[in-house]
Amino acid sequence: MNVWASLILSLIAIGAVATVGAVAGAAVQFFDLSAAAWLFGVVIPYLAFVTFIAGFIYRVTTWARSPVPFGIPTVCGQAKSLPWIKQSRLESPFTKLEVVARMALEILCFRSLFRNTRMTFKGGRPLYGPNQWLWVIALAFHYTFLVIVIRHMRFFTEPIPGVLKLLEALDGFLQIGAPYVLISGFVMAGAATFLLLRRLAFANIRYISLPNDYFPLFLILTIAGTGILMRHVFKVDIVAVKAMMMGIVTFHPVAPMDIGMLFYIHLFCVCVLIAYFPWSKLMHMGGVFLSPTRNLPNNTRAVRHENPWNYPVKVHTYEEYEEEFREKMIEAGLPVEKEAAEEE
């Protein structure tokens, strides 16, 4: 599928999602349709959440239940060997603890992505330069994503835990008018825009991209965009939002109120994102923990790795071998198990 088709398809998809949200909002706002409010404010969030949890567990357990027949870490440094040779403990972990440290670096710091180089082909020769900006943007994207998710907890908790307030204080940098301008939203939107532009700008990345690579980025951008708008431009009734969310988490849903079209777009997109999550590439979040090239120790010569389905195979035994070559072996003075004469 070429880039235009991919882009158009994913734009249609995101357009449809946003429109549904908008229609719901409009229904509540202008026609006072409480059925729509219940559907989009209560039923769909519950369904999406259940899909997310069930799907996530299903995917992770399916992976976790699949056997790991061989110890196949990708070794990225000196192995533990002779005592005077310095082992690279993080790149070639030998113990469980070293594996945990390697995984922590991968998950918290995107270690492997940090290694990235960029090949340029000049004058018939390849050159490899450092290339860390994807790493920077990916880190910015993921951490701000995390901060935003945590920050949203204030809608789901009463009283709001102190750490959340602290986080918010750290996140906000200026006060223009009433609410703090929170950096994380802008950084995440910026980083997601970069990821999108990167996909479009580099011919080879564009070539490997599928509609479902663009779709989650559009979805996240829509969520971030509506979020920023609600906070800074078309202010919504935070008290009403909180009441609605508390109703959901305490399983005593209250009748959703007219919070505005933007809110319904935002909420519906979030529902789509979390429902879509377990079935998409976003599951790299769960998968990275289970990757056998990263989470296994490089100690396979020292500690036996068991294969649960190891089965016997047909081999060519020494006896069969000697049977075929005995005469020649004897002639060449090679020792044999059975002398030729015994045979006859």
Partner: protein, 540 residues
């Protein structure tokens, strides 16, 4: 054959920009010089592999069995259930492209389907269609496509353009290893009789005679006897290897390439000299004609075939009642030993944790597999001052070291060979950082792609490696490329001749053999290759 390969000036015209048609809509064009010849029927029959037949990759009809699609999908299902690696790597790629320009075949060919991510997508697209709900419902939207005979051809063409080197896996944020996907892809192809001759034939030879080259026991001994004579001519000392000897303490297994093809043969002479030197210090080793192959072309066929060939090592160690096994210089042989052997064919309870009889060092890092790499063994000897070495006998050499993919990324054997080299040679220069150690570039011919008919692919894939050698050749005058792999020793010489004339290729133990001073040896005038030693001419 070499004259069919384009000139270097033609070869470097590489366009890394993708074509305008999407990859799913770009039909595969199988090109001469890139593909390897298909496996022959008798070979596959000998190995009890299915669907051996006469067929040509260039024909429209590959004579597939009528139910090929069922066989293939069933094969996929089985492997999804057996390998977490396969299932997970099918599921979590985000197509970030970090791996894209890391593959030597992509760098050398510019073919986008040689980007690791696309190589994997060739298979992943079918996985999505057949095994995921999203793929079934949304098809191309989510990158799913129908399996067809054309797709099968694409698999065959591109899974035999991956040397299973794992360089891509180093850079992937989730460690997705395209080598693992290629290994499974080739297993699937083998269910339909679609191996290549250069892999199937050595595997069949190995099964029958114990080594890939099909050398029969008496001929194997003849070859080594020949080296014994050569060694005597050069050093004045007659070494005396033993074969299939019961009760020896150590079994030595090396790739048969060392016994058969230059310059590996000089490495074999290096082993012989080292073993002879150590004999009087209490070293008790035997060679085997039955387990006369360290390499394992079964690894390039299927996990099962790997196990079938590898089984000989432990079986022979048991029969000969040795205590442990010493392994020669070989790449994929060592990946198999390090990451698979004990799991597949162990536990080797009939063996003991290896202890160097000379230094008393216990190789606890090999406590269960009971097999030690010869550079670990030699590094330990040198460190303990057990070897008398004359470095100057390698003074004609300006050495660099090529990390072979498997010892590097499959086991982390990086500093041992460097330590040995630097103790037997005076001049050593590293290649640039992004081309060595865990980031090393493949020789371009690994995983059974070292045939003759695909020379263009080999030279293209070997270009990044050669280019790094060229860099140190120009900058430091490097003239010798050392390595610890038999495939390297076979394929790097033509690669160097093509890209960097004037650079030779050597095993590490050839350098050791040159430097090691045997008790009672005559004054050496040549190295193990019979070339004059530095300074000899002036003296005459």
């Amino acid at each position: 054959m070499a004259d069919e390969v384009p000139k270097t000036s033609e070869m470097v015209k590489i366009d890394h920009a993708p074509p305008s048609t999407g990859w799913m809509d770009t039909p595969v064009v199988i090109r001469k010089g890139i593909y390897s010849y298909p496996a022959k029927k008798p070979t596959l029959d000998y190995l009890s592999m299915p669907f051996g037949r006469e067929w040509s990759p260039l024909d429209a009809d590959w004579k597939l069995p009528p139910n090929w699609l069922d066989i293939l999908l069933e094969g996929m299902r089985e492997r999804i259930d057996r390998f977490r690696s396969f299932r997970l790597f099918m599921d979590i790629c985000v197509r970030c492209g970090a791996c894209a320009d890391k593959c030597h075949y992509f760098i050398g060919t510019g073919d986008p389907k040689n980007m690791p991510v696309l190589r994997a997508e060739l298979l992943r697209s079918v996985y999505r269609k057949e095994f995921t709900l999203a793929g079934k419902l949304m098809g191309k939207m989510v990158g799913a496509r129908q399996m067809t005979a054309e797709v099968l051809k694409e698999w065959w063409y591109y899974f035999f353009q991956c040397s299973e080197c794992r360089r891509c896996s180093v850079f992937c944020p989730y460690g997705i290893d395209t080598a693992e996907i290629t290994i499974i892809g080739r297993e699937l192809l083998n269910l339909l009789g679609l191996n290549i001759d250069w892999i199937a034939q050595p595997a069949a030879n190995c099964f029958r005679t114990g080594n890939h080259l099909g050398i029969q026991p008496h001929a194997f001994k003849d070859m080594l006897d020949f080296f014994v004579d050569d060694t005597e001519n050069i050093t004045g000392v007659r070494v005396n290897p033993t074969y299939n000897r019961k009760g020896a303490e150590i079994l030595f297994v090396t790739p048969s390439g060392d016994v058969f093809a230059d310059p590996g043969t000089y490495t074999a002479m290096g082993y012989l000299i080292l073993f002879h030197y150590l004999e009087s210090l209490g070293f008790d080793v035997t060679w085997s004609t039955y387990a006369s192959e360290g390499g394992n072309f079964g690894f390039f066929t299927s996990h099962e075939m790997m196990k079938r060939l590898n089984a000989k090592m432990y079986a022979e160690a048991k029969r000969l009642k040795v205590k442990w096994i010493l392994g020669g210089e070989c790449g994929h042989m060592w990946r198999v030993i390090h990451q698979y052997m004990d799991t597949m064919n162990g536990p080797a309870d009939h063996l003991e944790t290896p202890v160097s009889p000379i230094t008393g060092t216990r190789f606890t890092n090999a406590a269960t597999t009971k097999m030690v790499h010869i550079t670990e063994f030699t590094a330990d000897l040198i460190r303990n001052g057990k070897l008398k070495l004359d470095k100057s006998r390698n003074d004609n050499l300006n050495v660099t070291f090529h990390d072979s993919c498997n010892p590097a990324r499959g086991m982390g054997l990086l500093d041992e060979p460097r330590y040995v080299i630097q103790n037997v040679c005076n001049t050593f220069h590293e290649m640039p950082e992004s081309t060595i150690r865990e980031q090393t570039f493949c020789c371009g011919s690994g995983s059974g792609l070292n045939a003759g008919e695909n020379l263009e692919l080999r030279f293209r894939g070997g270009m990044p490696r050669a280019n790094a050698v060229k860099h140190v050749h120009e900058k430091h005058g490097v003239n010798m490329l050392a390595c610890v792999c038999a495939i390297d020793r076979a394929v790097l010489p033509p690669l160097m001749d093509y890209w960097v004339p004037g650079v030779g290729v050597t095993g590490v133990h050839e350098l050791v053999g040159n430097a090691l001073i045997l008790p009672g040896e005559k004054k050496r005038t040549t190295d193990l290759r019979g070339e004059d030693l530095p300074g000899v001419e002036e003296e005459d």
